[in-house]
C-alpha cells in the first residue's frame, strides 16, 4: 500500500557562513492514513524544518518527499500552495487567525483559495465550525474569543478544506494546561474519526497523547515507535548525563 507521507533520505542544509548547518541530516519517514504521529525534539533538533517540509512550506535540499503518492519535493511556490490548500490543514501555536476577519471568514479562507463557490463555501465552513462546537460564534471577531476558542477556530479552518493531513505545530503552546488538554483531546477525537494527525512538539507529556512518536535530535531520527514504549519519552542525552552524575 502506498504511504500517505513518505520522506526518503531527506537533507535540509542551510549555508551558515563558511559552515553548513544540517537541519535535517538524512531523514526517512513514512506515515500512513489514519495515524496520529508526534514528532518530538528539542529546539534545534530539526523538528520545525521537518514540519516545514511535511507542510510543503519548504523543499528538501536533497532527498524526496512524496505526499499522497505525488513527489512534492521539487515543486515551485504556486504548486506547493495548491498542495497545501488541498492536502494539508495547519494548526499553529499562535492560532494565526486573521484579526480583521470574522470567525466564519477565517474558516472560509482555504475554501476561498480552492475556488469553492460562495454558498457551498459558507455551508462547509459552518459544518467545520459545528465540529469544533463554535458555530454560534461565526459572526465574532477572533479577538472576542478566548485562546482555547481561537485555537478551535483554527482547527475548524484546518478541517474546512477536508485535508489528508492535519499538521499541528505546538498547538497547546499558548494555552493553559486545561485548555491544552481539551485541544489534545479534540485532536485525538479527530484521529478516531479517521483523520491523519501529525503533531509537532517539544513536550513529552503532549507527545505521549499520540499513538506513535518520532524523536528527532540533531537532524536525525533517534526513535520511531509506539508512544506507549517507555523508550519513547527518554531523552538519551539526559539519561546519559544522569547516569554520569
Amino acid at each position: 500500500m502506498e504511504h500517505l507521507i513518505e520522506l526518503r533520505d531527506v537533507y535540509k542544509i542551510y549555508p551558515m557562513g563558511a559552515e553548513a548547518v544540517h537541519a535535517l541530516d538524512g531523514v526517512s519517514l513514512t506515515i500512513d492514513r489514519g495515524e496520529f504521529v508526534a514528532i518530538v525534539g528539542q529546539s534545534g533538533s530539526g523538528k520545525s524544518t521537518a514540519m516545514n517540509i511535511i507542510g510543503c512550506l519548504d523543499v528538501p535540499t536533497t532527498g524526496t518527499y512524496r505526499l499522497g503518492g505525488v513527489d512534492v519535493s521539487t515543486m515551485d511556490d504556486d504548486q506547493q500552495a495548491e498542495i497545501r490548500n488541498k492536502m494539508l490543514g495547519f494548526i499553529f501555536q499562535q492560532y494565526n487567525l486573521i484579526p480583521k476577519l470574522t470567525v466564519l471568514e477565517n474558516v472560509e479562507l482555504p475554501l476561498l483559495y480552492a475556488g469553492v463557490p460562495g454558498q457551498e463555501r459558507r455551508e462547509r465552513a459552518i459544518r467545520a465550525l459545528e465540529r469544533v462546537g463554535l458555530a454560534e460564534k461565526q459572526r465574532n471577531l477572533p479577538s472576542q474569543l478566548s485562546g482555547g476558542q481561537q485555537q478551535r477556530v483554527s482547527i475548524a479552518r484546518a478541517l474546512a478544506g477536508e485535508p489528508s493531513v492535519i499538521l499541528a505545530d505546538e498547538p497547546t503552546g499558548a494555552l493553559d494546561s486545561r485548555t491544552g488538554r481539551e485541544v489534545l483531546a479534540f485532536l485525538q477525537k479527530l484521529n478516531r474519526e479517521g483523520d491523519t494527525v501529525v503533531l509537532i512538539t517539544h513536550d513529552n507529556s503532549i507527545a505521549v497523547r499520540a499513538k506513535r512518536i518520532v524523536r528527532l535530535q540533531d537532524g536525525r531520527i533517534i526513535y520511531d515507535g509506539d508512544a506507549a514504549d517507555p523508550r519513547a519519552v527518554v531523552q538519551p542525552e539526559e539519561a546519559k548525563e544522569e547516569a554520569e552524575a
Binding site: 512550506l57 511556490d77 500552495a81 495548491e82 488541498k86 494565526n96 482555504p110 476561498l112 480552492a114 478544506g161
Partner: protein
C-alpha cells in the same frame, strides 16, 4: 480568491484606518479635483464662446473686397456678389453689403458723436427667422426694404440707445439727421446690452448701403456679410467666394475671407492647448499621489507580513496575494478619485458662479451664461485614471507581498 472578496477586504481595511486612508488618498483627491476644476472652467468658457457665436451666428462669412489698390478702379460690383449667392441657394442663405458710414448723428440740438452708422441692404433682415444676419431682432416698426435700398430712400433703423436718448423711447416716424441729411426712423432694434451705453452695440443706425457709401465717400463696397445655410456649408461657401474673388482679382492681397467658424475653431484650439497644459500640471499631483499610495502599500505589506504568511499557508498562490493588494491600492485611489471628483465639481461650481458672473458682466451681453460643469466623459476618465494609478503604483508592493516566503512570513512578529 475572487475579486469581490478582495474588494470587500480592501474596503474593510480602509474603514479601519480612516485617517491614514484619507492621507493616502489626498494626492489623488487634489490631482483629480484640480483636473475637474480646470476642465469645468474650460467647458464654461467654451460654452460661453459657443453661446456668443450662436447669437451672432456660426454661419457668418465676411468677405473683404479691397481691390488691388494699384490705382485701378476695377472692383467687384455688388451685383456680382448677389449673383453668386443667388446661384447657390443650397450653400448661401443671404448676403448684405456692410458699409461703415462713420459717425455724425444729430437730433435737433442733440449730437451723438459715438453713434455708429452702418450701410446695409434689405437682405440684412431675414423674414423667415425674424432676425438680422447678426441675430438681432426688431423691437418696433420694420427693417429696411428692397425699395428703400434700391431707391436710396432716406430711412433708417436705429438701436435702442438712440431711441431712448434722442426720442425718449418713441422714435417711429420721427426724423433723425444723419450726415447732415434728414432720415425717417422706420424701425427700432431690440435692446442688446443689459444696460444702454453710449457707443455700445445699441448705439447704432442702419441706413441703405449706398447712402452710407456716399456719406463716407467710398465708391465700392469693401465688406460683404454672407450667411451660409448651415455650419456645414460654411467651408464650401468660403471656397466659392474665394474662387470668385480670385478669378476676379487674380491677386490674393485684394480680398480676404473670414468665417465665424474659423474664428471659433481657432479660439477653441487655443483654449484646448491652454487646458491641456493646465491638466498636465495637475497630473503631476496625480503622480505624487500615486507614489504616496505606493509608499503606504509598502508599509502595509510589511505590517501584514504575518497575514500574508497565514494566507499562503492556507493555499493562497502568488497571484491571489498580488490581486488582493492591487485591488486594495486600486480601491484606495478610486475612493480618492471619487472624493476628488466631488470636491472638483463643488469648487468649480463655486468659482464658476463668481468668475462667470464677472465675465458676463464684463462682456455685458444678455442671455449668455457661464456654466462650469465637467462633462461626463471627463468624470469617467478621471475616475478611470485614478483607478489606473492605484493599480499601477500598487503593483510593486503587491508583487513584493506575493513573493514573500511563507515560512519567513509566518514567523514574522
Amino acid at each position: 480568491m475572487n475579486v469581490t472578496q478582495s474588494f470587500k477586504l480592501a474596503l474593510k481595511s480602509l474603514r479601519t484606518s480612516k485617517m491614514r486612508a484619507f492621507l493616502t488618498m489626498l494626492g489623488i483627491v487634489i490631482g483629480v479635483g484640480a483636473v475637474i476644476i480646470i476642465i469645468s472652467l474650460g467647458n464654461g468658457l467654451t460654452g460661453m464662446v459657443e453661446q456668443q457665436v450662436d447669437k451672432v451666428g456660426i454661419n457668418q462669412i465676411y468677405a473683404y473686397s479691397w481691390g488691388r489698390g494699384d490705382g485701378t478702379t476695377m472692383n467687384l460690383d455688388a451685383q456680382q456678389m448677389y449673383d453668386l449667392i443667388d446661384s447657390h441657394p443650397d450653400v448661401f442663405s443671404g448676403v448684405t453689403p456692410w458699409v461703415s458710414g462713420g459717425t455724425g448723428v444729430r437730433q435737433g440740438s442733440l449730437e451723438f458723436e459715438k453713434t455708429k452708422i452702418y450701410g446695409v441692404s434689405e437682405a440684412m433682415y431675414r423674414a423667415d427667422t425674424g432676425t438680422t444676419l447678426d441675430g438681432d431682432t426688431l423691437a418696433r416698426g420694420r427693417y429696411l426694404q428692397y425699395v428703400d435700398v434700391s431707391r436710396r430712400q432716406n430711412v433708417c433703423v436705429i438701436g435702442a440707445y438712440l431711441e431712448q436718448e434722442a426720442f425718449r423711447g418713441d422714435a417711429l416716424g420721427k426724423t433723425l439727421t444723419i450726415g447732415g441729411v434728414p432720415y425717417t426712423v422706420v424701425g427700432v432694434m431690440a435692446q442688446e446690452l443689459e444696460e444702454l451705453r453710449e457707443g455700445g452695440s445699441d448705439d447704432v443706425v442702419y441706413i441703405p448701403y449706398e447712402n452710407a457709401m456716399e456719406m463716407s465717400g467710398s465708391r465700392t463696397v469693401t465688406l460683404y456679410q454672407v450667411m451660409a445655410v448651415s455650419r456645414d456649408t460654411v467651408a464650401e461657401g468660403k471656397a466659392l467666394l474665394q474662387n470668385m474673388l480670385w478669378t476676379f482679382y487674380q491677386d490674393e492681397d485684394a480680398y480676404y475671407i473670414e468665417t465665424m467658424l474659423d474664428q471659433v475653431n481657432m479660439i477653441n484650439a487655443m483654449m484646448g492647448v491652454a487646458m491641456l497644459v493646465l491638466v498636465a500640471i495637475a497630473a503631476i499631483s496625480l503622480l505624487v499621489g500615486g507614489i504616496g499610495i505606493m509608499n503606504i502599500m509598502l508599509v502595509s505589506v510589511t505590517e501584514r507580513t504575518r497575514e500574508i504568511g497565514i494566507r499562503k499557508s492556507l493555499g493562497a498562490r502568488r497571484r491571489d496575494i498580488r490581486r488582493q493588494f492591487i485591488i486594495e491600492a486600486g480601491t484606495t485611489s478610486a475612493m480618492g478619485g471619487i472624493i476628488g471628483i466631488l470636491f472638483g465639481c463643488l469648487v468649480a461650481t463655486g468659482i464658476g458662479s463668481v468668475l462667470g458672473g464677472m465675465l458676463v458682466a464684463q462682456l455685458g451681453t444678455s442671455g449668455i451664461t457661464f456654466n462650469a460643469t465637467p462633462s461626463l466623459g471627463a468624470i469617467l476618465i478621471s475616475f478611470g485614471v485614478s483607478v489606473g494609478i492605484g493599480v499601477l503604483f500598487g503593483y510593486l508592493p503587491a508583487n513584493k507581498a506575493a513573493k514573500l516566503n511563507p515560512i519567513d512570513a509566518l514567523r514574522y512578529e
